[in-house]
């Protein structure tokens, strides 16, 4: 579904992505892991066209998207959930959802399915998004991304700053989303969250992919975790 080949990204004088290669298989949930500053967020932003790739190719299905503008990439069916709950605080929950529904009003059945995933959104439908709690804002950001069926969902650190109970809800929501065969790429720091959901994994370090494989294999190999991420699953139950 998504493939990056030799992608380089410069931000000002800094060379952030230094030849990133990896693939996100159709219908899978792929985790992109790595230490702070490894280039994970830049990678998602480069896919979305927010940073222009200085070299390399980004393919979504059969389309080369590395030279496209962000709105055109979004219109291909790629949804992006930025880190820090990227919602529009001044608009209501309803207005946030309507903004993402490009085909007009959202489909009632789909909306009911989303309310099933995130019941709080139905309760606060007419509330200003800025008044929601952190967890609810994150739910809204994800709900907005899936208000219409998407080819690919890019999610940047969905658990950042959330309480463990909310993270549990989020895991359930992503499990439900996986059942719809949506292709998902998630950048994450929380290894428990990653190993609960990931089918495949790519690990970044210093702007490069340093490991690719199955998530369960990485979860089972404490030594590899320590080597790649400087942690072990035992330390993060």
């Amino acid at each position: 579904m998504l493939s990056l080949a030799g992608v380089n990204t410069h931000i000002g004088q800094y060379h952030i992505l230094q030849g990133v290669d990896f693939e996100v298989p159709r219908g899978s949930l792929t985790m992109l892991l790595g230490r702070n500053g490894a280039g994970k967020t830049t990678c998602l932003r480069t896919i979305m066209g927010m940073w222009r790739a200085s070299a390399g190719r980004v393919l979504c299905g059969a389309s080369e998207i590395q030279d496209m503008k962000t709105p055109e990439i979004a219109r291909l069916g790629i949804a992006y959930v930025p880190e820090n709950m990227g919602i529009f605080a001044g608009l209501t929950v309803r207005e946030n959802m309507l903004l993402a529904a490009r085909g007009g009003a959202p489909d009632e059945k789909r909306l009911a399915w989303i309310f099933g995933l995130f019941p709080a959104l139905e309760k606060f439908w007419q509330t200003a998004a800025g008044n929601l709690s952190g967890g609810q804002k994150q739910m809204l950001a994800i709900a907005r991304a899936i208000v219409e069926p998407r080819k690919l969902l890019l999610v940047d650190e969905p658990t950042k700053g959330l309480a463990p109970a909310i993270i549990g809800n989020m895991i359930e929501a992503f499990r439900e989303l996986k059942r719809t065969d949506t292709t998902i790429l998630v950048v994450e720091q929380n290894f428990h969250f990653a190993q609960s959901l990931g089918d495949a994994v790519a690990v970044m370090d210093s702007g490069r992919i340093v490991h690719r494989g199955r998530m369960d294999a990485l979860a089972a190999d404490s030594a590899l975790q320590a080597k790649l991420l400087g942690l072990s699953l035992e330390a993060h139950p």
Partner: protein, 334 residues
């Protein structure tokens, strides 16, 4: 009925609803409860400036675009009517033709300026609009054979509009319709997109929004609103000139009206324009009274001398911004 007229955007505060009702009632009844030419002139100016400030709020408050060309579009409206009436006669046909041409010219300029400069950073757009507006003002002053130069153009209107009362109610009715139209625009899906762009352009783009397109359209709608206000102001004054419509002072006035009233609220334009025009028109008289009342006290009569009205107007606005950082409407809605 009222909800529908207001496009579902109700005042959401009893005090605000009461203030808006008071302004509307005062404007409708102005010819009867405030007799005299001056008070009617102030009322008409309030009606026109509500539209002018609301159209600027669509740009500044709803889209986050800082433009200094708003008076240029206001002036295009004024000159559209003025030139048509002065050159083609005072019939309805020439007024209609002048209005259509002015609106078309404004839309074309706003589209061109927007498309060329809304891609760049906000500060560059602001500078470009400032330059274009200054150029237009110089043009209006220099092309005296066409525009009357600094003296402007006096013209007459169709016979039906000769009574001041008829002109006043035409201006008031048209201003009300224009304000409600702007309110509908900001409460439509289009308005929602503008708010999302103002809040976070990158997030809006990530949802597939072509931000340059939306900002350009907003620039055109704002320009058309300002031009329509200019048309009405010219109809009311039966005159147009650089000082009345194109001056940079008017641009500052609009900015203050929007900020004091409350940005991104539309109703803020009503209160901002009303308070500002009233202060501009009557503060000097109030100070004359106050100065006379404290004539025996040292220093105070000098401080309250009517010639110092601009100083006190400034103080009044500093206090407004200090105590109402989200504008009067923001404060009333809290």
């Amino acid at each position: 009925m009222i909800r529908s007229l207001l496009s579902g955007d109700l005042p959401r505060s009893r005090a605000l609803a009461a203030a808006l009702a008071l302004v509307l009632a005062a404007l409708v009844l102005a010819p009867f409860i405030f007799p005299g030419t001056r008070s009617l002139d102030v009322a008409a100016k309030i009606a026109v400036f509500v539209v002018l400030a609301a159209s600027y709020d669509l740009l500044l408050g709803y889209t986050g675009v800082v433009s200094f060309a708003h008076t240029m579009f206001f002036g295009i409206g004024g000159y559209g009517i003025g030139l048509a009436a002065a050159n083609w006669g005072s019939g309805w046909g020439s007024l209609a033709a002048g209005s259509v041409l002015a609106l078309a010219l404004s839309a074309a300029i706003a589209f061109a300026v927007g498309l060329l400069s809304l891609r760049v950073r906000a500060i560059f757009f602001a500078m470009i609009t400032l330059a274009v507006a200054a150029f237009f003002q110089i043009l209006a002053s220099q092309l005296s054979w066409l525009t009357g130069g600094e003296d402007g153009i006096n013209f007459s209107l169709p016979r039906l509009l000769h009574p001041r009362l008829a002109s006043y109610y035409l201006v008031l009715a048209a201003s009300t319709v224009l304000f409600l139209a702007l309110l509908r625009i900001v409460n439509s899906p289009f308005g929602r997109v503008l708010l999302s762009i103002r809040e976070n352009e990158f997030r809006a783009e990530a949802l597939g929004t072509r931000t340059v397109y939306y900002r350009t359209v907003a620039n055109c709608v704002g320009a058309l609103g300002a031009t329509a206000a200019g048309l009405l102001y010219a109809v009311w004054l039966r005159y147009t000139g650089p000082a009345a419509t194109l001056s940079f002072d008017i641009m500052v006035d609009i900015l203050l009206m929007v900020v004091i009233g409350g940005m991104g609220t539309m109703y803020g334009s009503v209160l901002g324009a009303t308070i500002f025009v009233l202060a501009q028109s009557y503060l000097r008289d109030l100070m004359k009274l106050a100065s006379g009342a404290v004539s025996g006290v040292p220093l105070l009569p000098d401080l309250l001398h009517p010639d110092r009205w601009l100083l006190w107007l400034g103080v009044l606005f500093i206090l407004c911004v200090y105590y109402f950082p989200t504008g009067i409407v923001g404060r009333l809605r809290k």
